[in-house]
Subunit: 221 residues, 2 copies
């Protein structure tokens, strides 16, 4: 039986939130990974890469796993009834509902995080309570059949955990080796806790525009 | 001044070899990252994701950095004169010539690794001497203005190293934090040296088809 994994794609998605888990899921045996959006027109991601949806909301089957990546484009989805309705419908029948980075804010806006432990990008964790979620700072957070991942590259760790859960630990370990995932980050600044203060300040400044807009949108939520 | 980074895209590319470095490069200030191929038609990657080239070989400017990702589709490029000529022309004027995973075999086929230290995916390191390269097992290998990365996910480490070199260490550290790159691989099997024997055997079996074809192609090189 093929495991069908549907990943939401949208304008302004952070492509590595999507492409990291995609590669892990698609490298595991017995999976079919598809990008789903309102139309089949190619979309431009936050940093310029163009991705092409495989299915529309209307044509999508019930996925076994639904995954929402994050990025600046998340802001436009927080009050987008068509997308939120699609996610609610999928969530009702999916084995696992998942997100990477600020994708969890979209799950929250769809009402799918109420009373659940969840995570997101470090620069957005404080938004989670607005959706009734219990924020947890970790790269992968599980609450029952809900899996949420931290910022961007957390999606790779997350997807390996999900493959181990859904398919098997051996299969997940084989994928990890095939993708040569023995990371060696060149610097120690991967989280706000370990980052030098001036690096943290610069990263916050770089993301300030998107965050300010998000604060405004969520103040009305 | 904008730093122009051209990444080769081709049918059967391992998308994470490309999308990991793309996200790192494109998140750094003052860069323009573009996908280049023979035509602008969308191409299907090794695991199914569709990517769209931004430029053709004919329209490409002289890039500051040229990057060749790997994947099963590499095999078709090893004797592809149009692609190898393009890479040789770019390499002659680029500040840095780079590859991720088995992309280094394409650089090798273009004659760009002779006498140079280089790396590739762990399952392809033994092919490097056929191109006159000196194989090194590491995630990022530098020889002058040549940077080669190990398998797939090594591309993220590699791109951060290149951003630090080309733009600055502060900028690279800010990107690492923005991408929350403090990886936590769920298993210890990321390299053949650390993998359990049965996991290594299974990974080799999964990649045997592409490797056998490569052995045949390179036997005639």
């Amino acid at each position: 039986m093929t495991l069908r994994i549907g990943i939401l794609v949208f304008p302004g998605v952070q492509q590595l939130d999507l492409t990291g888990p995609y590669e892990v899921f698609a490298s595991a045996p017995g999976t079919k990974v598809e990008l789903v959006w309102k139309s089949l027109e190619p979309v431009t991601t936050a940093t310029g890469l163009v991705l092409t949806p495989d299915l529309t909301f209307a044509d999508a089957p019930q996925f076994d796993v639904v995954c929402v990546p994050g990025g600046g484009g998340v802001n436009a989805l927080l009050a987008d009834a068509e997308t939120l309705d699609f996610l609610r419908r999928q969530a009702a029948g999916a084995r696992y509902v998942t997100s990477v980075c600020t994708g969890s804010l979209v799950l929250g806006a769809a009402g799918l995080l109420r009373g659940k432990k969840a995570t997101t990008h470090w620069n957005a964790v404080d938004f989670l309570p607005a959706f009734g979620a219990i924020p947890v700072e970790a790269r992968v957070v599980r609450d029952g059949t809900l899996f949420t991942a931290g910022g961007v590259t957390s999606g790779i760790d997350f997807a390996l955990v999900v493959v181990a859960e859904l398919i098997g630990e051996t299969e997940a370990r084989v994928v990890q080796l095939a993708l040569e995932y023995a990371p060696a980050p060149p610097f120690g600044d991967g989280t706000p806790k370990t980052a030098a203060p001036e690096i943290l300040a610069a990263a916050k400044a770089a993301m300030a525009g998107s965050r300010t807009e998000r604060e405004r949108l969520l103040a009305g939520a």
